[in-house]
Amino acid sequence: MSEQKRRNTSSVILREVAESSLDPATGTQDDREETGQSEPLQIQMNWFLRAFSNERWQFISIPLLSILVSLIAISIMLGIMGSNPFNVFITFLQGAGWIMRPVYAGGYGQLSDLSNTLTAFTPMLFAALAVTIAFRGGLFNIGISGQMLISGFLASVIVGYSGLSAFVAKPLVLLIGMAAGAAVGGLIGFLKYRFNINEVVASIMLNYILQYAVSYFIKIHFLDQISRQSRVVSQASMLVLSDTKVGGVYVSIPLCFILALLVAVALQFFLKKTRLGYEIKAVGANRRAAQYSGIRVRRTILVTMMLSGALAGLAGVSYYLGYFNSIEPGALTSLGFDSIATALLGNAHPLGAIASSFLITTLDTGGTYMQSMMGVRQEIAQLVTGMILLFSACSAFFRWRIALSRQKAEMRAREAAASGGPGGCGPEVEVSVQGGDVQ
């Protein structure tokens, strides 16, 4: 019975294969007859497989698939809760400044929202790049938050509270941020290199140590008694030009936005085209193989962590001296942990991180407006992020399944072709398949 069934399906597939060879897009029947068996097999795949089995596009198609699936899941949830999911997503975009809101308060416009989003985007991208490079090197930098805090703190203390002019202060802030971050990252790398301390544990411990140490110094020396935060840094040292009037609306111009994009491109170049970048990737892919090929693994680990720390430092200064202008004592920013998610969503790829940072910050900054308009708690933004990540964590599975289905389809086609012999149109194929069954 099942034998019969299989025979039928195989003949159907083969007929379709034969027909598809008549398709002008895949070449004429004559071509096929001339080349005979050496012609690449015509594989029968459904639309889904066809869309996602192209490996060259999987880096983008699979994240898009996970975003789509999670948006559908969230839409269903929103629908059950009684809000129109479409409107919710629109208000997210409006709140983040990608689409015009219907009404604006005086002095504010779409540009204000957009500049806010870009201001939040800048530290997120830096932090995501910090995670990305560590990840490519086979390391997991979970201490981004701590590295951000110490670099933001040192930059505030050294430059932010000094009277330096803007032209000196702003580059100095960036340098101090990078140096402080690289020092902490380097320490984690050193502890791993010298004492074999797992970098995850060392990062977690350093996160706490830095959090409490910075909190102590702020409370003793730099506390603003009213806001219970550190004193506000000088305008000259800020990496954002806040409350600037552009075209009649207030905007805050993130000065590091372009720098962040450039760093992402540079990092991509670094990983792809330079020797050190190659070594980092080699160590990340297989530590032992890298060692046998003559790469100094421990030194590479140290360098990777320093680079990651430096990027986290940039995130720190563009966060504490940009997105904010003071530091809350005793708290680590959740951005350091969210950036791990952002980097993973971007496939641990520097350019992917740009796209995912845009997505995540849009959800973050648009959330407040969405909540005020739709009455849906803004925590849903995080939930959307979580869902997207959940599905993109399965991307290895998707890839594996798609490859498997593709293999099966190929095998079926090959089987059919083998039993059918070369060439021929519909009826002939029917006959030859039946002949094949007799064997």
């Binding site: 502890l191 797992n198 060392a202 977690i204 350093l206 706490y208 409490y212």
Partner: protein, 324 residues
């Protein structure tokens, strides 16, 4: 009460919940699954338990001063943690996800979900704008005679009921891991899954169960924090104790008793430091400096002990039958 007594009492109250989370982590990691998700699992478990206990009070399921909701909430928390761990297990065992990624994803998802659900449930079910479930603080018990022993008596003084539960779990899970067939399977799944497979045991099933155990134990640990340091459930529960438990278990070389020692060290360092600040009568900001002590101490000790640390051999690897 003397300072030493307080150090012991507070230290145990921190160390034991940390231990139960770490034991869960040991099960997961000994079976070969990296579990960075402990933080999220303990939060979700505590959320489930707190929701249950809160509803008990709100809907008068039990007598007003009954302790039954508290004890039952630990069971609910364990179930909730295990339920959430199913995601980690599915992702890591079945969906071949990167285990580190999966752990991070679960932490983020847990923070988002519990935050969203807490305020949503408060709004719709309990008609309050609160973003937390208020609980009581667990009662403290003292054993009459034993508590009179000098110094050591502190162990029997003013302890939380869940500390006893955790000590029982410690013995039970130590026995399971080192003295039962299932324990051997778990350890083999992490060290040599091919051998386990050759012996006719399904590796993926062992790993799945181990991850569920880690979820249940993390849920219990989270509930302990909700009933001791917080006396409510809110987003504040994600204080990083899950990560600390991971640090403890790596410090303890993925073995239960050394991990117990690591947790004790950590708890006592923490309570000792805060007692020191009290005794010296210095500015409370110095308390922050004292809080560094346990973490710095751990880092320094790790520098001495990490040389011989050995992770389970196939930790983090997706089990592939065809690989040798």
């Amino acid at each position: 009460m003397s300072a030493v007594n307080t150090i012991i009492i507070d230290g145990l109250a921190l160390a034991l919940p940390l231990l139960v989370i770490a034991i869960g982590g040991i099960f997961s990691e000994r079976s070969g699954i990296i579990n960075l998700a402990l933080e999220g699992l303990l939060g979700f478990g505590a959320f489930c338990g707190a929701l249950f206990a809160y509803s008990c009070v709100a809907f008068h399921w039990f007598a007003p001063d009954s302790l039954a909701p508290m004890y039952l909430s630990f069971i609910v928390a364990a179930a909730g943690g295990a339920l959430f761990a199913v995601i980690h297990a599915m992702l890591c065992v079945k969906f071949r996800a990167n285990q580190v990624i999966s752990g991070v994803v679960i932490n983020i998802l847990s923070v988002a979900m519990t935050g969203f659900l807490t305020s949503q449930i408060n709004k719709t079910v309990f008609s309050g704008p609160s973003s937390r479930f208020d609980l009581m603080t667990a009662p403290r018990l003292t054993v009459p005679v034993l508590s009179k022993i000098p110094v050591l008596g502190a162990v029997f003084t003013r302890f939380y009921p869940f500390e006893v539960l955790i000590l029982i779990l410690l013995v039970v899970f130590w026995f399971i891991l080192y003295r039962t067939r299932f324990g051997i399977h778990v350890r083999a799944a992490g060290d040599n899954p091919q051998a386990l497979d050759a012996a006719g045991i399904e590796v993926s099933r062992v790993r799945f169960v181990a991850v569920l155990i880690s979820g249940a134990l993390a849920g219990i640990g989270g509930m302990c924090f909700a009933y001791s340091i917080f006396s409510y459930f809110s987003g504040a529960i994600y204080l990083g104790y899950g990560y600390l438990a991971i640090a403890a278990l790596i410090f303890g070389n993925w073995k239960i008793m050394p991990t117990f020692a690591a947790c004790l060290l950590f708890g006592f360092a923490q309570s000792g430091a805060s007692q020191l600040v009290l005794l010296l009568k210095v500015n409370s900001s110095v308390g922050d400096l004292a809080m560094i002590v346990p973490y710095a101490l751990t880092l320094i000790l790790l520098a001495f002990f990490s040389k011989h640390n050995r992770a389970p051999r196939s930790l983090g690897e997706i089990y592939d039958k065809s690989k040798r």
